[in-house]
């Protein structure tokens, strides 16, 4: 089983990297880009088969370490 965790800056927290990527895309003439947010993806290989338990565990991992909830949101996807 694996867990895919996506961490990104909270809405309202300025994403400087996203802004820089947007500017770069504009200079490449990709004019259709309205907004860019840069996040990170963390993929965890997990023992066990209980997806509910896995989600609980990974939520705790996110709260403790993987995300800084002062500035970041996280989303967890469990893949069997």
């Amino acid at each position: 089983m694996k867990a895919i965790v996506n961490v990104s800056l909270k809405a309202g927290v300025l994403d400087s990297q996203g802004k820089a990527v947007k500017h770069a895309l504009e200079s490449l003439h990709f004019g259709s880009v309205n907004d860019v947010r840069v996040g990170k993806q963390i993929i965890l290989q997990l023992d066990g088969t209980d997806a509910v338990k896995a989600k609980e565990d990974v939520t705790q991992m996110c709260e403790d370490l993987i995300a800084n909830t002062v500035i970041e949101d996280y989303e967890i996807e469990i893949v069997q």
Partner: protein, 224 residues
């Protein structure tokens, strides 16, 4: 006066910090992060600058789980004085000992230069030897120094006199190098025993090196 200085893998300002405090007459001890206690005669605990754990995941995120951090929390919660400089500030925010968080600098550059700072509150041991409104010159050297705090918590910081320093120009007008909320360079906790700042007072100890404004800052701890 005994100053204990934390050392994680990747810390690189512990010896500068030691030199700075010893030049003021303090005795010092460098504490490796695997230690589960800090010396009982410690008067000030410094979380020194550097790149603990290579800044992996986020600056300070992994250091907060080092064995020594449990003792640091106990020490701080019992009123012990703690100073976090640069990466030390990041570690203390990650550990929840100081409010807010440090993000990547707004323009994404690593900044390494002298910068002016304005003293905002001095009713604490750290800045008591300076006056409110004083402009001091201290080096900064960071990539993740963009202080963030939500609006309500920011209001609380001001109400409790927890904002210590703001980045400014030589005349004291706001000049924000890294995008920090309200140009904030340093804060303390509500109880005023835990302090954190991105600039490096330990690198501003003699005029030969560009500034000795750090002396008045660090001296505050010695007279307490």
């Amino acid at each position: 006066m005994k100053v204990a200085i934390l050392q994680f893998p990747g810390t690189n300002c512990e010896y500068d910090t030691q030199h700075a405090f010893e030049s003021l007459g303090a005795t010092t001890e460098i504490i490796w992060h695997k230690s589960e206690s800090i010396p009982s005669d410690t008067n000030l605990l410094v979380v020194a600058g550097g790149f603990s754990y290579g800044d992996y995941l986020r600056s300070g995120a992994i250091a907060k789980f080092s064995p020594v951090m449990k003792a640091v929390k106990t020490y701080a919660n019992n009123g012990g004085k703690v100073l976090g400089i640069c990466n030390g500030f990041q570690v203390l925010t990650e550990a929840g000992l100081l409010p807010g968080a440090l993000k990547r600098n707004e323009h994404l550059h690593f900044l390494s230069k002298h910068h002016n700072l304005k003293v905002i509150n001095n009713d604490n041991v750290f800045l008591e030897k300076l006056a409110c409104g004083d402009v001091i010159n201290v080096p900064i050297a960071h990539h993740d120094g963009n202080y963030y705090i939500d609006e309500n918590s920011l209001k609380e910081l001001y109400e409790n006199n927890q904002v210590l320093l703001q980045y400014c120009d030589k005349d004291g007008n706001i000049s924000n190098p890294n995008g920090s909320v309200d140009s904030i360079a340093g804060v303390c906790n509500k109880e005023k025993n835990v302090f954190g700042l991105m600039p490096h007072p330990e690198r501003a100890m003699e005029l030969l090196l560009g500034s000795d404004d750090g002396v008045k800052m660090l001296q505050g701890f010695l007279s307490a």
